[in-house]
Subunit: 759 residues, 2 copies
């Protein structure tokens, strides 16, 4: 308590020097500090600490990015205060007024609380108090939210998830004004608002709370954070370990089709344990990791501050901080997250949750100077101890580029359930997914990929079918096309067999399996390769896909080599699409466009595809080129003249225009057992509508050829238009680094060590 | 000649001071200056002048934007010199190698010539000389270009147009090295290359040269510029006044369907006279104005320098400089030209032709400081006298914002053939076209418009169906869909009657007529209005369209009010499309999506539209909202329950995927004589995929209602969701500013002066 009296003195001095109106305020501050002695904890102690507040105040005006953030937040909150407080009776789904208002209030409360601590201006504390009291007054009378769509209805919001969001933020605000409030006021709030609020989202909603799921993480953090502020060990325990004595039906499912609680685990620690792989990959993918990140990290920050003995940032070998590095690596050149599984495109590390993640990772981790360059791009910091550390780091010129290289991220709690491989070579990025199902937000897309050039999608993953928070589109929630289209295998750049999705599109089957890494190799900076197998998606069929990004000096840019080897015990129909974005330029094959557009099929996503063109492939190589955002692309694929080629477009059976009208070119190979799909995708040249000049607009590949395909090896030759040939051989079975290979192709010997040969 | 010896002395001094390797060079320079005395003109004298070169050299190193441009050009040309010279035998269409190479050579020659003058480094002169000699060697043997598609084949290129481009640039290069060459060398070049080159594109190709057309402008400028350098009065005369004694068939047509020479006019002055209106609007629209601008201005600059007595910049009351202002005003907030008529989207004032235009306009005009801000954005200047003036202006802090306001630009040589009205209000821009046919690049789109918000298209004009210079798409030339789709009325945001285009899509009919301005009013900064009539597009039918952008404080952003009044002597079917860009959000009416997509019709552009949805409008107002690039839009249209509503998508009968798959919503009113289409288009709110917050996503209009519609007046009330009503009354007949109006609507009197009432 010695320390707080120092603050008090400092405030007094400032008050005397700066203003003659400060007498009343000064008195109040002293009163507050007296109040504080009645609690057995210092406040603030969650994201701000008493020491941190002192440091921040000392640095104000000297740390540009912190000062700018503070100034913006101050302007934002001053404007809100001027508007007055509104805590409407809950009525709406996401996007509706009451939803938006309460969501806004939680953020405003948190920011106002922080401003009170940093600026020591009572008006912010009063504003927080007044709003909290209005909530207290309303909450004690509130029934369940009137909208009934959720499996776990909240009170302020239609789902407990949003109620939990609210409490995670508002706990921070309460922490900030804790000492400002009288004991009586605190009792009132805790008894009528916070405690019953925490109970509603936990003991009253076990189907929401008692799980391993991003929803539960929010719930756990909400209960835990208010518990930390209230110094309530019961709530803290409930947060960390789940509700004592409650076990859910392990076969029940939630709204999204996910199991409620397959193995009975619950609580914040279980939520760290389960979804994160040792590499920090989050099983639902980056979009949901971003969403879950905030409660993981702010609650961890609070635990670190209040219960340092837990060593939360070292838990599971420091996986929380590792996960931030993984998440940053799961973004393209513009910082946008790869839309694996259910992911809304455009979400990026500019999201506030990532400001939290970057700042916390820097402060509580190893002060990686690469994080400072991302913080510089974000152009804001947390208004707390970690944000100050980042702002000071930037100010002191410590920032270095955050270099994203090829990286392999394992999936599964123990890193043994497949993973995601990201290949990077100059401006070309390829994301290859061979992970587990990805919980209820997973898609049926084993061995799928998407391709980017300098942050622009070239071969896209559709992402989700949802307009998050846009009320006009299904209340801002998942649209039915998410299931009927976005999750289906045919919506992805992988093989669909017999017009059926992987695992027949069944979540409980998909959840049992995962693909397996065959090898990942990024040692040679010119050749980055990832290879993985999938043996369960279609029982009786094995798939081995090897994808490489190769930079060959004869080419302007790195190109993709894609070898998909399919071995089956029966004849099947295989569909192999490329969801290219942009304008068709030309093809080397003939095709016809139908008079009327019909759907390609009736189910499993096929009902959403129009057939816009039908052709037959060429004997040796089928070629197709397109233009997207001023850049040229060419696909060269090894084909035989039996392959059908379809031009498709998304949008059939879409009665509310929920889907984007985007195209694909699709290879269809019928009545085939074992087969090989081999393609090269080149990025080349550019076009400017200003200079109207088209540079390097043609493919540089003359012939792509399979020169060997055995159980053990597949070898592909790439001959460019100048007649120079390169050979890529991948080991299909024994591919570990140390193994020596020696094979003969066309009377020539090839000898090498390791997974692949390229020369 | 006194002046040139000064230069010579200066060069000598520099040479002695700077380098010990300069003895040889110095000698050569002296030789050159002796040569010069044998000609009766100073060189350079086209875009550079001897005095200008002296000024530029004196300022080098002190004018950042000039120095940077110079540095970039030097790097570019040094790289080209290092690559060596290639002047291949002509073979290809646009986009093919020989085409691209010769096009590149002309630019490189021009730049190398300028570098020689500014940097006084002989290597550039030698490079120009060597390449010119290669051309001389080839040209004298060249037959017509082997590709036969053009109505006027060139020799280096498949069309005389490109040959003319070449000569316009290469004349400048020749001028720059004129004094460097010996008389013998000059004779060789002039006799074997330049003179026959000028003859081929003029006397040998009168169908190309002897016209009023942007093609001919290039031809005239090419002949004139080489004439100025060669001091050849015959060529200069031919350039200014056309080929003496040649008259073309006034009914013949060119490749694009335009008349070759309807009224027998020809030559550069006629090409200024005819296509420019007194306001500087170019009859083909901004895309072709941009293309034509360069020859207009560089030849004018040359004429100004060599023949100041012509007062070319004062010709037709200074229309050349006025036209630059008009062109800059025909661009959106990003500087991209509105795609009126045949216009490729993305072309902008960052094009080099506009660097020329802006610099020349500044230097030879009134030194408008607004031009300096555009030059700053362009971030380059001409390496000549005018570029130096601009660079100095910027350096001296004279730049001011170029403010684009609402503007009305008349069309026609005398400004009496309709025009284009641009309404601007905050971030909303509307371009309304009521012009003449627009020569062979015109579209059949009377009273059409397109709408922009902050440089993004909201309601689009399709533009052209062409991928300029992309060889894979029809050799980079116009695609057949340009005629079958892009020019047709249904491709535009205006009324199509009985599924037939305006003037039945016939160029000779369309060329006889133009729309007429009813009124244009931009005095009130909150209400910008343009109104025009069209009485010839459909004989027996009169259209009066009044479009306003209104800023009402009850609305977040300005909204568009659109009143299209149709009066016909018989019952017709009217189609009224809105080519919105983006994702459908919702509608207030029911519609069905068909099982299979069929074309809406079989001709006049209808064959290219798929019908994606069919509905019936609501009794009073039909509403439709959409989301585009993070912004919300709502259409509210006055309808009756007989109106059909169609969702259409471009792309039917498009066997080579030449068309973009973009959407429209279309009102269809059948079996109707007189009618009124009244709509409001609101821009509102925004959506961020990073914060996932949807702000102000709903329309603010509760009811849109026609409260009066007589021959004399149409009155529309706009009631917002808070119940406040505004009334807009437009005078349909007597709309001049001075007229006083007094009418009674629903027992209330309205009195005002001028074209419209709003309150």
């Amino acid at each position: 308590m010695n320390f707080t009296s120092k603050i008090s003195i400092k405030i007094t001095l400032i008050a005397i020097v700066l203003t003659t109106f400060s007498c009343k305020k000064e008195t109040e501050v002293n009163v507050i500090n007296e109040n504080e002695t009645t609690t057995n904890q210092e406040h603030p102690n969650l994201i701000l600490t008493a020491q941190g507040v002192q440091d921040i105040r000392a640095q104000l005006g000297n740390v540009p990015i912190f000062d700018n953030t503070l100034q913006k937040v101050k302007e934002e909150i001053d404007a809100e205060i001027a508007l007055g407080i509104d805590t409407p009776i809950p009525l709406d789904y996401s996007g509706g007024y009451t939803h938006v208002r309460h969501k806004r209030n939680m953020v405003v409360l948190q920011k106002a609380g922080v401003l009170y601590q940093i600026l020591d201006d009572e008006k912010y504390a009063k504003y927080v108090k007044d709003m909290l009291m209005q909530y207290e007054d309303m909450y004690k009378m509130l029934p369940l939210h009137p909208k009934t769509r959720s499996y776990a209805r909240g009170k302020l919001f239609w789902q407990c998830l949003n109620d939990s969001n609210w409490l995670v933020y508002v706990s921070q605000a309460y922490d900030c004004v804790y000492n400002y409030l009288s004991e009586e006021e605190r009792n009132k709030l805790e008894t009528n608002l916070f405690r019953p609020f925490a109970d509603h989202i936990s003991v009253d909603s076990p189907q929401f709370y008692q799980r391993v799921h991003n929803h539960s993480t929010w719930g756990n953090a909400a209960v835990g954070m208010i518990g930390l502020v209230m110094d309530d060990e019961e709530l803290i325990d409930r947060a960390l370990y789940g509700i004592k004595g409650v076990a859910l039906d392990t076969k029940a499912k939630d709204d999204d089709g996910g199991f409620l609680n397959k193995d009975g685990k619950a609580g914040f620690l279980a939520n760290i344990e389960e979804p994160f792989s040792p590499d920090g990959y989050y099983n639902e993918g980056p979009y949901y990791q971003r969403y879950a990140m905030y409660p993981f990290l702010v609650f961890a920050e609070g635990l670190h501050n209040v219960k340092p003995e837990l060593k939360i940032f070292e838990y599971k070998e420091g996986v929380l901080l590792k996960s931030i590095n993984a998440l940053l690596n799961l973004s393209d050149a513009d910082g946008e997250f790869f839309p694996l599984n259910d992911g809304q495109k455009g979400m990026s590390y500019y999201n506030d949750a990532l400001v939290t993640a970057v700042d916390i990772s820097y402060h509580f981790g190893t002060q990686d100077p690469g994080l400072l360059s991302i913080a510089t791009e974000q152009n804001k910091v947390l208004l707390d101890d970690s944000g100050l550390a980042v702002a000071l780091g930037i100010k002191n010129g410590k920032a270095k580029p955050f270099e994203k290289k090829s990286i392999n991220l394992s999936d599964g709690p123990n890193g043994t359930q497949g993973g995601v491989g990201i290949l990077r070579n100059k401006d070309i990025e390829l994301v290859f997914k061979y992970a587990a199902q990805g919980s209820s937000h997973g898609h049926y897309d084993k061995l799928s990929y998407s391709l980017f050039e300098n942050g622009e999608e070239v071969i896209q993953d559709y992402g989700l079918a949802r307009f998050v928070n846009i009320e006009q589109k299904g209340g801002g929630n998942y649209l039915k096309e998410n299931k009927s289209w976005a999750k289906q295998t045919i919506a992805h750049n992988t093989v669909t067999q017999n017009e059926t999705s992987h695992f027949t599109g069944k979540y409980d089957i998909g959840s049992k399996y995962h693909s397996d890494l065959h090898y990942f190799s990024s040692d040679n900076e010119n050749v980055q390769v990832v290879s993985a197998t999938e043996t369960n998606a279609y029982p009786g069929t094995e798939m081995l896909r090897t994808m490489a990004i190769i930079y060959d000096k004869d080419f302007e840019k790195p190109y993709v080599l894609d070898i998909m080897k399919v071995v089956s015990n029966k004849a099947n129909k295989y569909d192999f699409p490329y969801y290219f974005l942009g304008q068709v330029l030309n093809t080397n094959f003939d095709y016809k466009v139908p008079e009327t557009l019909k759907a390609l099929g009736s189910k499993n996503g096929y009902q959403h595809l129009y057939v816009e063109g039908i052709g037959k492939s060429k004997e040796e190589n089928t070629k197709f080129s397109w233009l997207n955002k001023g850049k040229f692309y060419s696909l060269t694929t090894v084909s035989d003249s039996n392959d059908d080629i379809l031009f498709t477009r998304i949008g059939a059976n879409d009665p509310e225009f929920n889907l984007r009208r985007e195209a694909a070119i699709m290879l269809r190979r019928k009545n085939t057992k074992n087969t090989l799909f081999v393609s090269a995708i080149e990025a080349h040249g550019n076009y400017s509508p200003i200079s109207e000049s088209a540079v390097n607009s043609n493919s540089n590949i003359a012939v792509l050829k399979v020169v060997l395909d055995t159980e053990a090896y597949t070898a592909v030759s790439i001959t460019n238009i100048n007649g120079r040939t390169k050979l890529f051989i991948t080991a299909n079975t024994n591919a570990s680094k140390e193994v020596k290979h020696n094979i003969k192709i066309n009377d020539k010997n090839y000898e090498w060590s390791g997974s692949y040969y390229f020369n």
